[in-house]
Symmetry: C5
Subunit: 309 residues, 5 copies
C-alpha cells in the first residue's frame, strides 16, 4: 500500500511510484506509434485510409463506460471488503485478548489458566501469519517461530489448511479451560464466538483470493478497450490531423490505466504497490497480543519508499 | 468458474474459453450480414434506403445504458451474494466442527459424545451435497454415500426438501447430546446457531435460484439491444459506408456480450463456465469435516481446462 | 412472478406475458400518432412547425437518465429487499421448527410439550398467512382454517394487526413451555429470538408496503419523460422526416417501459405479473411446518401460464 | 409523507401537492424571463449577444450529472435509512412487549411483575415520543401525558436528552424485575437487548438529524446548476430562437427540481410533504403497546389531504 | 463540520466558508489565464495554435466521469462510515451505562459495585478521547484529566495504542465485578459485548484513518482532470473565441472542486471544515456518562462561525 502525504498539485503530475504508467507504458507507446502512422498516411496522402467520423465512438463509449465503471467498482469493493475483514481480525484478536483476561483469574503468577490463555493467544497470532502465508503463497515459518514451538509448526503444515488448524487448536484450549472449570459455558461461548468470527475473516479472505471476477468481464473490458483505442485514430485524424496521436495516447492512458488498476485491486492480497499491507496488519495483531500478555511488543512496520508491505 | 492466470495483453484478445463470443457468434454474424446488405444497397444505389443521422442513437443510448448497466449490476450482485453465502457455509461448517470439539469431552475413544458428533458432522456434509443437488438439479446420491448409510439416503429423498431434512436430523443429534447431558443449554445454543445459519445459507441460495430477475427487465433489455443494433447500420452508412458493418458488429459484440453475460451471472448455480464451483466448495467442506474428525481428507478438486466445477 | 425458461432470442422479441407493452400501448400509440402528425405537417409543408435541433435533447437526457436510473434502482432494491425478508421468514420458521424439536423431549406420544410445540408452529403458519393477507389486502380466512380453530380466527381478526397477534400468541406458548419447565431461560431465548426476527420480517414488509418512494420522484420522472417524448418529434423531423415517428415510439417504449416497470417493482407485494409470489412462499412455509410436525404436507404451488402467485 | 393512489398518466401531469413546482416556481420564472430576454436581444438584433455552441454544455453536463446524481442518491439513502430505523423501532417495541409477556408470570391480576411490565412499556412509548420531539424540535408533552405522570414528565425534561432518559428508566425497571427475581440474568439480557437496539435507533436518528451532507456538496451542486441554467440560453438561442426560453425552463425544472427534492430528502425528520410520518409511526407503537397491555388502543392516524404527518 | 441553516438561493452563490473555492482559486486562475492566452493567440492570429474540435473531449469525458464519480462515491462512503462508527460509539457507551445500572445493585451509596461502575465508565470516556487523540494526532491529556488520575494517564501513554489500553482496563473492571460476584457470567457477557463493539468502532476508525484510497486513483483522477482542463481551451476557442476562458474556468471549477472535495472527505478524521466533529461527539459521550453517574454534565459544544469541531 502506498502511504505518503499528498504531494502538491504539480508534483502529483510527475509521481511514478504507485502510478500505473510504468505498467502500461509499452501499450501506450504502441498505440501512440500506430496513431502517428495513421496520421502520417492520412496527412501525406501516401495511402488512402478509411476515415470515420467520431460519432460511432460515442456509441461504443456507452458500452465501454458500463464495462470499465462496473469492473472498477467491483474490484474496489473486493479490495475494501478485504481490508474490512482484516480490520475485523484486528478487533477480534484484541477482544479475545481482553475477554480472556476479563474471564480468567490471572492473579496467581504462572497459573494454569494464565498458561492456557498464553497458548490461546499464541495460536491466534499464528493463525494470522498462517492466513497471510496462504493468501500470498509466502513462507511464514520464520514469523511463526516467535509464537509456536517447532513441533507445532511441523504439525501445522501437515494440515491442508494451516490457518484453520490454528483455530482448531485454539478451540481445544478453550475446551481445556472449560473442562478445568476456569470458565463456565457462557464464558466458553464468549471466547468461542471470537474464534468463529476469525474463521469468518479467514473464509472471506479465501473467497476473495480464490474467486476472481468472472473472467468474461476481463475479456469484454480488455477487448473493447483495445478495439476502441486502435480504431480511434481513424476517427480523430480527419479533424485533428497530427494531433490525433496525442489524443489517442491520452484516451488510452485513461482506459488502459483503469483496466490495469482494476486488475490490481481485484486481487487485494498480492504484493503489488497498491495491495493491502498484510505484513503490517499482522504486526499490529502481534503488538496487541504481546502487550496483552505483558510481553515486550515488536516495533510497528514502517513504509519503505512510501510502500507498506 | 474460470481459474487461470491472466494471459498477457495480446493473448487476451484471442482467448475463447470463458468468452461469450461462441454463444453470441450467430447473432453477430446475422447483424453483420444485415449491416453489409444495408451498406451494399446504399453504396451501389441499387435501392433507396432510409438514412438516419446518428444523433437519435445517442438518445436511445441513454435508456440502453440504464437497462444494461442496471441488469449487469443486479446479476453480478446475485452471483457475488451466492458466493458469499457459500463462503459463509464454509466457515459455519468449520466452526460447527470446532465448537463441538471444544464443547464435548472427546478423550475417551469411541465415546457416546464422539459418535454423536461424528453423526452431526456427517449430516452437515450431507446437507451441503443435498443443497448442491437441489440447486443444480443434479443427482448427488454418489457423493452422499461417503457420509450417510443407504437407509438414511432413502429417507432423505422421501422428503420434499432433502437439505432441510439434513439440518433437522443434525438438530435431533444436538438434542440427543443435550438430553444425554454432554452439553448444557448454552452449548445447545452454540451448536444450534450454526445450524440456523446453515439454514440461512440454504434459504438464500434457494431464493437466488428460484427468483429470477423480473422477466420484464430481460424483455426490455433484449428488445432494446436488438432494435438498436439492427437500426444502427442505417445511421452509420451515410458517414462510414462499407465500414458500417465493422462498427455495427463491434457495437453488437459489446451489447449482446453484456446481455449474455448478465444472463449467465443471473443464475450463479448453473454449470456454465462462469458459474460458481459448487463441487469444489462442497469438497472444501468435506476436507474440513474429515480433518476435524481425524479421518483422511479427500483431495482438493482441480480445474479442468481452466474450468472449476 | 414470471417463471419460465428463457425463450430463444427471436421468441423473446414477441413475448407478451410479463412484458410491459400491453400497459403502455395506449401511450405509445398516442405519442406515435402525435409524431406522425408533426412529420406530416413538416413534410407536406401544410403548416410551419418549429424545428429544434437534437442537441438540447441530449442535455435533457442527463436529467432524465438520473431520474430513471435512480428510480429504477430504488424500486428494484425495494423488490429485492422484500424478497430477502420473505426468504428470511422461510428460514426462521424452519429454524423455529428445528430448534423446538432439538430443545423439547418429544419422545412421549401426545406429550404436553409436543402439543405446545404443535400450537406454536401452527401460530407461525397463521402469522405468515395473516401477514400476506394484510400486505395484499386479501381475505386469508380460508387458509387460516387449516391452522387455527374458528375461535382463534375470530379473536385474531378482532386485533388491529392480526400478524402481530399471532406472534404474541406464539410468545405466550413459549412462556407456557418455560413455566412448565420444558425449557430453561436459555431455551426460551433461542425460541424467542426466532419470533423477534419474524417480527422484523413483518415490520420490514409493512415498511415497504406503506412507505412508497417519495411521490415527488414519481412526478418528476413521469413529467420529464412525457415532456421529452412529446417534444422529441420536433427534434427528429428535420433529419429523419417520416421516420421520426418510428424513432419516437422506440424511445418512448424504453422510457415509458422503465417508468411502468419501476412502478410495478415499487410495490412488490401486489398481485401483478412481476410481483412477489407470496402464496407460493406461504406454501413453502406450510410444507416445512407440516413435515416437521410429521403431518402430510400440502403440494407446492405451480405457476399458471408462467405466473406464480 | 404523501400517501395516495397513483393518479392516471394525464392527472399526474397536473398534480400540485407533493410536487416541487411551487417551491421552485420563482426560480423557473426568473430563468425563463432571462432566457426570453436573451432570445429577444438575439432575434431582434437589438444588441449583439455572445452566442455559444451547445457542445460546451455537454461537457459541463458530465460534472453536473455526477453532482446531482450523487447528492440525490445520498439524500435518498439518508431518508430510507431513517425510515428503516423507525421501522426497527416498531418491531423492537413489539418484541419487547411480547418477550416481557413470555418471560413474566402475569396470571395474577395486578401482580408486581405486571405493574413493572406496565411501567416498562409506558417508558418505551414515552421514548418514542421524546425522540420524535427532539428530532422535530416539537413539544411532545401532550402526547407524553397518556403514558407518564406529571412528575416523571418534569424529570424527563430536566435531562439533556429526554429520549435517552426514558431508556435509562426502562433499564432500571428491568433491574427491578431482576432483583425481585421475576427474571434471571438471561431474561434480563433478552429485555436489555431490546433497549440497546432502541438506543441504536435513537443514535442513528440523531446522527441523520445532526449531520447534514457536507455543505460543500450543496454549494457545488447549487452553483453549477445555476451557472448552467443561466448560460444555457446563449447556447440554445442560435438554433432554437424564440423557443430557447421553453427549453431552458424545462431543463431548469429538472435540475432545480432535483436540487430541491434532494434538499427535502436530506432531512427526513422535518415536517415537509415528503418527510417521514413520525406521528403516524409513534401511533403504531402506541397501538402495539396498548393492545399488548390489554388496554384500548387509540385509532390509527389518517392522511389529511394525502399527507400523513 | 459546517452546521448552518441553508441560506437562500442567491446567498448560496456567494458563501465562502465551507466552499472549496479558496483552496482551488490559484488553479482556477492559472487555467483561466492559460485559456485567455490561447484565445488571444487565436483571435489576434499572432501565432497559429492547433485547434481541436470538441468531439474528442466528450470521449475523454467518459473516463473522467468514471474516475471522478467513483472517487467521490468512495470518499463519501468513507466519511459516512466514519460517522456511523462514531454514532455507534455513542449508543454503545449509553448502553454500557444503562446496562451496568440495570445489572448492578447500586442502592447503597458508595457501594463497591458503584465505585467499579464509576471507574468502568470513566475508562470509556477516556477511550473516546484517546481514540480522537490518536486519529487526529492531537494531544488529549487535558480532556483525559477530567476522567482519569495522573498515574493512569501516564500509564495510558506508555502503551502503543492508548485507546486499546482503555478498553483493556475497562475489561479488567468487569472481571473484578465478576469475581466479586456482583454479576454472573451472563452479566459479564452483556458488558463485555459493549466493549467488543467499542473495539470494533476503534478498529474501523483506524482502518479508515490509515488506509487511504489507493494512491493510483488519486494520480489518475488528478492527471486526467488537469490534462483535460489545459487542453480544453484549444477545443473551445474555435467556436467560443474570447469566451473560451469563461467556460474553461467553469468546467475547471467543477472538476477541481470535486477533486479537492473528494480529498477532504477521504480523510474524515482531520480538522478541515468538512470533517467530522469528533470534539462534539466526545462531548456527547461525556454528557451521557456524567448524567448516568449522577454528576453534572458539561455543556454541549457549539459551532464557531458555523464550524463544529
Amino acid at each position: 500500500m502506498i502511504v505518503r502525504p499528498r504531494p502538491n498539485a504539480i508534483a502529483l503530475l510527475f509521481v511514478i511510484r504507485g502510478s500505473v504508467v510504468p505498467r502500461i507504458f509499452p501499450h501506450l507507446l504502441a498505440v501512440g506509434l500506430f496513431a502517428a502512422a495513421v496520421s502520417a498516411l492520412h496527412e501525406l496522402r501516401w495511402l488512402s485510409v478509411p476515415e470515420f467520423s467520431l460519432a460511432p465512438f460515442t456509441l461504443l463509449g456507452v458500452a465501454l463506460s458500463i464495462f470499465l465503471g462496473f469492473r472498477n467498482n467491483a474490484s474496489y469493493e473486493r479490495w475494501w471488503e478485504a481490508r474490512k475483514q482484516w480490520g475485523a481480525m484486528v478487533y477480534e484478536i484484541r477482544s479475545l485478548a481482553r475477554s480472556s483476561e476479563t474471564l480468567l483469574d490471572l492473579q496467581a503468577e504462572h497459573s494454569a489458566a494464565g498458561q492456557l490463555r498464553h497458548d490461546l493467544l499464541h495460536w491466534c497470532a499464528a493463525h494470522c501469519h498462517a492466513l497471510r502465508g496462504s493468501l500470498r503463497q509466502q513462507d511464514c515459518r520464520n514469523e511463526l517461530k516467535s509464537w509456536l514451538n517447532d513441533e507445532d509448526i511441523e504439525r501445522l503444515f501437515s494440515h491442508r489448511n494451516p490457518a484453520e488448524y490454528c483455530l482448531r487448536r485454539a478451540g481445544r484450549i478453550i475446551g481445556e479451560l472449560y473442562r478445568q472449570q476456569h470458565i463456565d459455558s457462557v464464558g466458553l461461548r464468549i471466547l468461542d464466538e471470537h474464534l468463529t468470527r476469525l474463521a469468518a475473516v479467514q473464509a472471506a479472505s479465501e473467497r476473495i483470493a480464490t474467486t476472481p471476477l468472472p473472467f468474461a468481464y476481463t475479456l469484454l473490458t480488455h477487448r473493447t478497450a483495445y478495439l476502441y483505442c486502435y480504431l480511434l485514430p481513424f476517427g480523430l485524424v480527419p479533424s485533428l490531423g497530427w494531433y490525433a496521436a496525442l489524443f489517442t495516447v491520452i484516451v488510452a492512458y485513461t482506459f488502459f490505466g483503469l483496466d490495469v488498476l482494476s486488475e490490481e485491486m481485484e486481487e487485494p492480497f498480492g504484493c503489488e504497490a497498491n495491495d493491502l499491507p498484510l505484513d503490517a496488519l499482522c504486526r499490529i495483531n502481534e503488538i496487541s497480543i504481546a502487550e496483552s500478555l505483558g510481553e515486550t511488543p515488536p516495533p510497528l512496520l514502517q513504509p519503505v519508499k512510501h510502500v507498506l508491505q
